[in-house]
Structures are given as C-alpha cells and as structure tokens.
Symmetry: D2
C-alpha cells in the first residue's frame, strides 16, 4: 500500500482527491493537512466523509509526514505556498504531485509576470514534469515532481494538441473561448463567488491576462514544435463543476471533418480518458462531470477553413484531482486507470 498525504485537504481539489482515494485499492491516506484555527475532523468539513474517514486535518509539518512514512504527497495548496514545500518533500524522498501552478511554467519570468511573485525555486523547474499523461506519459512514470496542469489548460491543450502537432493550423492566433463552473476558483470566502453573485449571472473575465494563457501557449508550442499564439477568454458560468472550451483554429488548407476526426482518434487511440465524439455530436459537461474523462468534438466552418473544437471536462476531475490520481498511478507503477473508472 502506498502511503499518501493530502496537503490542503479542505479545498475542493483536496476534497476530490480524498473522495477518489477512498475507493482506490492500493493507497492509504495517512495524513491530511489544512490551515485551520484548530485541528478539525475532515468529516466536519465535508459531511460526506462521516463514517468513511475519521481523520483530523492538521498543520502542515514536513517532519510529521516523514515520520508517518509518506511515500507521496498531493499539494493542493495555493500558488507560492506549494513552492516552499515541494523541495522539502523532495529532499526527503517523497514524490510530490503539485496541483498549484508553481512548477508548471518553465520560463520563470513568465511565471513571475502572471503570478505576480518571485519564483524562489527555479532549479526545480527543469526537473518537474508537466503532468498531462496524454503528452508526457513516459516522463511522468519516472518523475519525482509532477506539476499537475490547470483546469483550463487541460481542456484546452487536449483539444488542440492533435491539430497543432500535425501543423494544420495557419499562423493566426488560436482562439480559446472557455467557460467554467465555479469550483474552478477554489473553496474560499470571496464575495465574487457567493451564490447571489454567481447564480443567474455569467461573465467574461481576465481577458488577455489570465494566468492559464501562458500555460496553454507553452504546451501547444511544445506540441507544435514552434510558437503557437493563443487568445484565451475565460468565462464564469453558474454551475458547480465543469469546463467547456470552444476553440477556433484557422487551417492552412481546407479539410474535411472525417479526416480531422480520424487524426484525433488516432492521436488518442491508446488514451483511456479521452473520448473523441463522432461527426455531428459534441461533448456536454454532463457527459464528463464526476469523471476523469475529457470529451472532444469537432465542427467545421462552412468554408472548411476553420475548425471549431469543443472539449468538456470536470474541472475537479480531469482538470485537477482525477488527473492527479492518474499521475500518481503512472508514477507509482499502478494501472493508469486504477480508481478512476
């Protein structure tokens, strides 16, 4: 049995990791940590765990985890906080799956610009592996520090990697119009997240300055082998879980839908968690909610020169915690789908 700790257990990603691991046959949850006024039972925070996990959320102390012989730690912590703890765990030989953005962006200057803070552990940026199994499976298997992708990037990159890898797109910017449910913003007391402000409302936000834009551009550029420009527009919509992205890709030459779909199916043929929809069908959020799947569907403009690619994920599933477990499975030699089907 693998001994794991979940740091940041009272957030939504921490919650979802616990939920998945409780059904995982090869893992023991040994420690939960959270920043709380007093040690609190996790079942008091999430009533769902009553009778299932009788464990306190404690302060995060590295040595306590070492004493408990933790093999792997999930860092479901705010950006910047992860950065301080990840190296300490790595030094103790503990595998780190970091759900924050701290080790995702390889160019620290881009990180510093978008996250508004210094990167104090640049040396780890090289060693860290971007935890998108569909693109980096072999590296993940050997990684000690896995930078688990953001929710928007997961949906965006999976839906665009095949087309940019094949260099079918022309030089114009790829537009990613993304819509997200509210848990993507985390579980925190923020007036912009309260029901009265979110229900029966909808908005675009952070156009051109959202911190997930450079992450998407980095990975699509890697996939394409050249710089890919994206124009990323996130929207907040009134549902709890789910991301839908609608991307617009101008093509070098006219194409037909069958060919594109064949490319996508072939690209992901061995991937258990990517589903390419048949012609005429598109993924909806309800197809993937509470799962680790990413659904992808494609339509073409009338002139066949623009591909409209729609992807759907659960932002807490494939967009965060599900993917973190998938990475754990790969990194620890378990079956990739263990606990996730």
């Amino acid at each position: 049995m693998l001994n794991v700790a979940i740091c940041g257990a009272t957030g939504y990603t921490g919650y979802e990791i616990i939920k998945i691991l409780l059904k995982h046959p090869k893992v023991t949850i040994k420690t939960l940590t959270a920043k709380l006024d007093r040690p609190t039972k996790i079942a008091e925070v999430f009533g769902e765990f009553q009778g299932k996990l009788d464990m306190l959320c404690e302060d995060l102390v590295v040595n306590d985890l070492v004493k408990k012989k933790i093999d792997l730690v999930f860092l479901a912590l705010p950006h910047r906080v992860s950065m301080e703890f990840a190296p300490k765990f790595l030094e103790k030989g503990i595998i780190v799956i970091d759900l924050s953005a701290d080790f995702r962006i390889k160019d620290y200057k881009v990180y510093e610009e978008y996250y508004g803070q210094k990167h104090i552990y640049k040396s780890y940026l090289k060693a860290s592996v971007y935890g998108l199994p569909e693109l980096y499976k072999q590296k993940i298997k050997k990684a000690r520090l896995i930078a688990n992708p953001g929710c928007y990037p997961t949906a965006s990159i999976l839906s665009l990697a095949p087309i940019v890898s094949k260099k079918l797109n022309d030089k114009s910017k790829i537009i990613v119009d993304a819509k997200s449910g509210v848990t993507g913003a985390g579980r925190k007391a923020d007036i912009g997240l309260i029901f009265g402000e979110v229900a029966e409302n909808m908005k675009a936000y952070k156009i051109g300055v959202h911190q997930h834009a450079p992450e998407i551009a980095q990975e699509l550029s890697n996939a394409a082998g050249k710089k890919i420009d994206i124009l990323f527009t996130p929207h907040l919509v009134p549902l709890k879980r789910g991301i839908l992205t609608t991307s617009y890709v101008n093509l070098k030459t006219k194409t037909n839908l069958k060919k594109l779909l064949t490319l996508y199916k072939s690209f992901y043929t061995k991937e258990p968690f990517v589903k390419i929809y048949d012609e005429g069908r598109l993924p909806q959020v309800q197809d993937v909610v509470n799962t680790n799947y990413c659904g992808i569907g494609i339509a073409l403009s009338e002139d066949k020169k623009c591909a409209i690619i729609v992807s759907a994920i659960d932002n807490l599933g494939k967009g965060a915690s599900g993917q973190a477990i998938q990475n754990m499975n790969l990194s620890c030699g378990f079956k990739e789908t263990e606990g996730l089907l």
Copy 2:
C-alpha cells in the same frame, strides 16, 4: 421631494432599496454609505446602476447627512451597528427605517439572548414601531423610528396573523417550516454562501435557536392577545431570492377551507400587497419574486383539524427593502403603493 440616505448601500437590501427608489417619483437619493477601503462608485459595485446613479459610496458620518438635509435614512446595516446610529439620526430629526433587528424585539433580554450582545439603547425600544404595515399601519404613519421586520417573520406573521387573531388555533405549538433563498443571508464573503456549497445542496439550520423565532412569536402573541408558541425551522435552498413558509396550525375545532379563506380575505381586504389564493391553489416563489407582494394559500388536513398555510415572498422585496419603501410611503404621507407596483 424627499431626501433620503441609504446606509449600507452595497449589501443586497441596500441594492434593492436603490433599485426601487430610482423609479420612485417623490424621492431623491442624496447619500450612499458603505464600509469600503476607498470611496467607490455604486455602479462599480452593481453594474446595473451604470448610467442611472452616478454616486459614490462614502463613510457613514452623521453630520454629513445632516448637512445634506436628509429627511429619512434607511439603515441597511448589520445588527448592533444600526443600534449605534439610529439614535443619532433621530436626535437630528431624521426619520429612521432600520432594516436590522436592533429595535424589533421589545424585550431587550430576548434580544440579548438571541443576538449575543448588549442592547445599549433600550429607551428607544418603546418608541420604535414594528414596521409591518398590515398590522401597524396607523402607528407607522406617525413613527420616527421604524423597525423593519425580518424576512422570515414577514412571511410567517402575515400567513398566521388572521388565524391566531381569531383564536382558531389550539394550544399546541405552531410549526413554521421555512425555506429561504441565499440573499437572505446578506452579501458577504462567507464560505457557507459560496456557489459551490449552496448549489445542488439544501439544509436545515439553527433549529430552535434562529434569531427570527422570538420575533415571530412576539408578533403572533400580540396579534392573538395571548402567548403563542412557535417551532421555527429555517432551511437554506439554492435560489437567490424568495422565501416559502409552510406552517402547520392545529385547530380548536374542525373547520372548512372556504371559511378559512374568507377569514383571510376579509382580514387583508384593504391591504394592497397581500394576495390570498383561491381554494386549490398555492403561492409559488416565482409569483412574488421582484415584487412587494406576499402570497398566501391554505390547505386542510383530511380530518379538517390542521391548517397548512403556505406563504411566499421575495426576501428582498416584502421581506426587506420593498417593505422598507412601503413604510417610508406611509411615514411620509405618500401613497402606500408608490413605486412598488
């Protein structure tokens, strides 16, 4: 034109008062106050007011309002804060409509027990008028300090006053099972109010200890001329605006529905904002949302010995701000329905 100030303009009740007053032909909004880091335009807080009300939210300073010749002030402030300001305005000859609970409960010991704080202006409790126009219209017309009722109490009292006034209920407790939308809890950064915790959820809370219970009991006892016991159970449900109460009243003797409905229609015959539903029909939240109406419907148990009374209001309308305007209209000699139809 009546000059008014709204203190606590950035909460939901403040917002709703502004919205109604912008259409009111006899009122000028002269001042908005709010506790903010810096003076902020109200249209930056509520985009809806852009182009309609170009006014800053300022700090609450009594003398500033005096200088601006305010005639009437709405206190949409937290409990306890209202208590400190109301007397100061009254001393300056400014009429106060207080949306907090500070002057609603006549027995200060009950107030102190349920609100967990000392009452420091007991002397004003006698002069204050409980602002439920359907019960206290004549007093409200002459009042200088109007204690605007709570949202649950408004729905509960209106639906039960006729039956207890006529002393049809037996000695057993009246059960009020109330369900409220989320804006009833105010516009504040509270983790229990965020969309991720409220949507697709539902809960009972504060059974037996909710601060609105003694307010309901006080007014029903007044209406009955004897002590009325209630058992009040509030529930939080995932909608923005709206309260539905379902009350269970055991009757002294069997009755029939027609008689009960006639009693209710007669009780409220002159009231413009109470609608009694015909036999077989019940009010829904969507019948009253965004209005100042209270809808009331009645059903009987099979044995005709228990009346089930359902009422619906908009918690921000008749449950708070609409009612505050109704009180202002009465207090200032305007038509009771001005700005509210």
Copy 3:
C-alpha cells in the same frame, strides 16, 4: 455473473442503475429497453456512457429477455406499466425489482384511490416484499418480487421508524415536511419541469393527496404495530438530486437528545447505509448526493416534547436506483454494499 435487464433505461432511475452496475463486479447488463421511435444507443441518450456501454435500447419484449437468460430485471417503468410486466417475468422465473409503486401498497383500494387506476394483479401484492432493507432484510433475501420504495417514503420512513417502533410518539399526526430536487419527478417533457419554471422558484404541491403519503403511513404503521397518521407536504426545490425531510413528532413524554440519538444509532447499528449524526449536527443534501446513504439528524424543541428529525438522501440513490441495487445484492446473495460504496 448475474444477467440483468433494465426496462426503462432512458429515465433517470434507469440511467442511475446503469451507472452503478457498470462498476458492479458481479453483474452483466444484457438488455436495455425503452419506448423510443427507433432503437437508439444508450450512449446517444446519455453521452456519459459513450465508450462504456455500447448497447441499443430496444422494445420491451418478455420473450427476448428470456432468450437472453436474464436472471433479474429492473422495472424502471411508469406506474401501471410495471404492473403488466412484472407477473410475466415472475412466471418465467426472473426476479423482479420494480421501481414503480405498483406493488408497494398492500391495500389495493388505497392504491386505486391514489393512483387513479385499477389494480389488475392484486394476487401479487401479498408475495411482493417492500424493498426497504433496513426494515425487511430477511424477506428481501428470499423475495422474487421486490417493490422498491419511493424516494420520499425512503427518506421519511428511515427517519421515523425508530421513534414509532419504540412508541415514543403521542397520538397526534406526525408532520413530514419534505423537499425534493427535480429528478424525483422523472425524465419527461413536462412544462412544469423545465428550467425556466423550476430555477429560482420553489413550491409546495399535492398537499394531502400525494401518492407517497399512504406508502409512508403503511410502513410506519407496520413499524409501530398500530396506525400512524402522517401529514405529508412535498415541495419542489431547484436542485437536480436530493431530498431533505423535516419531520415533527410530538412525544408522549419529555425526552433528551442523547437518549433519542442512542436509540437511533442502536436501531441502525448494523445498517451500512444509514448514518446518524451527532448532537448539534444535521445532514445536508451534499453529504449524500451520488451515494446510497441516508443521513439522519435530530433536534428537540425547547420544551423537549417535540422531536424535529431531518433526513437527507439522494432521490436517485437511496431513494431509487441505489436502493434497487442494494435489494439486488441481498436477493442474489451478494455482499449488501457491493458496488455501492
């Protein structure tokens, strides 16, 4: 492996049965039936099943199921339709778990009154077992026709059985004020169920005439060994899944909360799917959604003479399909919790 058929696969209860069975290690789904214009793949109806269950929904023909060697059939059919098919399957030796109400109510006259139609298979009423495992486990194990309880009755009965079994309630009616999410009404094109009518709305309905009332009364009377009167008020609230019941029980004598909670814990001590909440805590819908659990919490009125009992279930989980699987497990000799944790 047990071969099962799901009749009525395109409704919400059918959907949920499929979802659970896809993870159940001892069951093979052999047939899906639905009333459709043309044979349709289940994954076209529910995108979630794409790549997981490649199966057509066919017309319901008893002999087809016999040929496919079905061992057990789930009838997720409308009331009355089940009634016609259940006997035919039983004659062929196929175990029937009927999610309709057709065999739940033992007194066919009550059934005919509340469901507005003749009962044409009264002879089966005696053989059928009411499928609430917490009350009838031994009978369910041997049953061939299991009448799976309704969603409201499951939540209501589980929350009241201990107190009436111990005869703690006085002679007055027990009030059950129940609130349900929308999927409880089924997956059908009904204008009262569309988003525009349900969202931001809330209503009481069918007071005194809801068909679940006699089912609750029947089972509580059985548990008490005497007639129990209930007053049942259902409400529709804007969420997809979840039922919350708030019941009011007048007690013969004053009691204390500890004693009541001990009784409840003891009553359900061996039950894997009932959770009694500790003093001061109450179940919420989000504690049980997407599970087969029923959460129960208790509060007392100030005078200790009335128990307020709150229960929460997922109407599609413990309130329908989860419970149906639990019944299947019992009836087929599997572990009771198989596929449900």
Copy 4:
C-alpha cells in the same frame, strides 16, 4: 390609450410583454390569445398576474381582435404561425410587431433553408422593417410590420455594428461565441429543456446551422455596406435569463482601446438602451437582467490586432419583449423609453 393584443400570451415573450405593459401608462391590454385546451385565465398560467390582470387567454381569431378595436398586435407566436396571421392584421389596419423570425430575413431563400419551410408571404418581406431601433429608428417610426429581432442577433449586432460600419475589420470571419440562458428556447415541454438536463450542464449546439446566423450576417453586412462573414457558435448555459456574446474581430490595422471605445460611445451616443463600459470593465448578465439595456465592453489582444467585444442583454428584455415595447413606443409616437426604465 393604445389598444393592444398579445398573441401567444403564455410563452415567455408573451409573459414579459404583459409584465412590461402593465406598467405602461399609455397602453391597454385588450386581448390575450393562446393555444390552450380551454380558455384559461392568464393568472392561472402566471400566478404573478393574479389581482393585476383578470383576463382569459382565448383562441386567436382575427375578427375578434378587429371588433375589440385593437390598434397594435404583438405576435409572440412560433415561426410560420406568425407568417399566416401578420398579413391578416395588416389588412385590417392593425400594426404588427412580430417576435417570430418570419419577416426578419430579407432573402426568402435563406429563410427557407434555415427554417425548413416555405415562405408564403414574400411580398411582405420588403415592407417589413427590422426592428432594431439603434439601426432603423426612422423606419420603425413609420412601419406597419415590424420584424422584432432575435435575441442572439440583438446582442451580436449591437456589439459589432460600430466596428463593421467603420470598416475596421479585416476580411477574416468574425467569430461570435454566444452563451444563452434557457428561456431563449421558449416555454415548451421539451426534454432538452428540463431542469435535470440543463442544470449543472453546458453545451455548444447547432454550430454553423443556427437560424440566427444569417440574421446576424444580413444586418452586419447592411451596416458595413459589404458582405460580412460570421462564424456563430451558440451555447446553452444554466440560467433562466441572459445572453452573453464574446466576439472576436480581426482588425485591418492595430488600434488602441481608447479609440475603439470612443467610436462605440459616439455610435450609440443618442441611444438610451446601449451602455458602453469604460476601459477595463465588461458587462455581466446581472447588469442587464430584467431590463431593456444592452451592455458592451471591449478588450484588445496583446498585439492590438484583435478586438474582443463582450455584450450582455436579457434575452427576454432587449432580446425580445423589451425591444418589442421599444418598437411599439417608436411606432406609436410615444417616448422611446416609456415603460422601459
């Protein structure tokens, strides 16, 4: 007083017209029609109108309306049905405001392609005026047949007319990524619209084939004086009312945001219902819900070569019924904003 009839009074657009007209000082509602099994009071359909409008919904018979001296009729009817009635009213001298699409698209072949039916009154296409006051005010003032725009087109055209009129866009397609609440699909018993399918879900639909695409293209081409290609992607999101469009316009030359905003403010300077947001701010649905306003905000891509234009309307307000009243006001010589502020 203007005598009006509302045909199709039980749909959402009919409902909203009634609601607005009840507060309009110059209009009398004389007739309501609806397709119902029996004549039904409008207050039975929409409880909100109880005590406010005691009127039956009757069958639509042209001569009945003539007898009642109707001056103007709102056709809130399905496509194709409007087409049959509009000419009959016009012949009787009754002004027609048609909320269907039947007279919006000037090229009948395009209409027939997208709506899948013959256009049987082509002769009226020329006389009809496209009822977008911001573009056709003078024509609307004299029109007898006003084709009230669709909801998506209103939001899209208003947000793009200034930029294409000034010919700032290059030759590439303009992308309109639009998100709509559910009432935009009408008030009808459709399984795709029920709460269980819509809540906690989100989807793109009808990409490239939505019937509003040619309407948008027609009007933008008119505004530009040349053919404008658009790529229109509608999405369904879980809220009742509101449309948000996010449009991407590639510019001929780099521009700056101030200049663009100045253009927009100048273009709409005399328009009472269009609000251009200042730099750094974007409209949200909650800014415009329950109003006749359209909010428009703009952002630029980093390279200043692509404008991202966000617009928000209430699909039942400016997107349908509010706009219909605005058209009525213009056509009947009332103040444009009467009843709409």
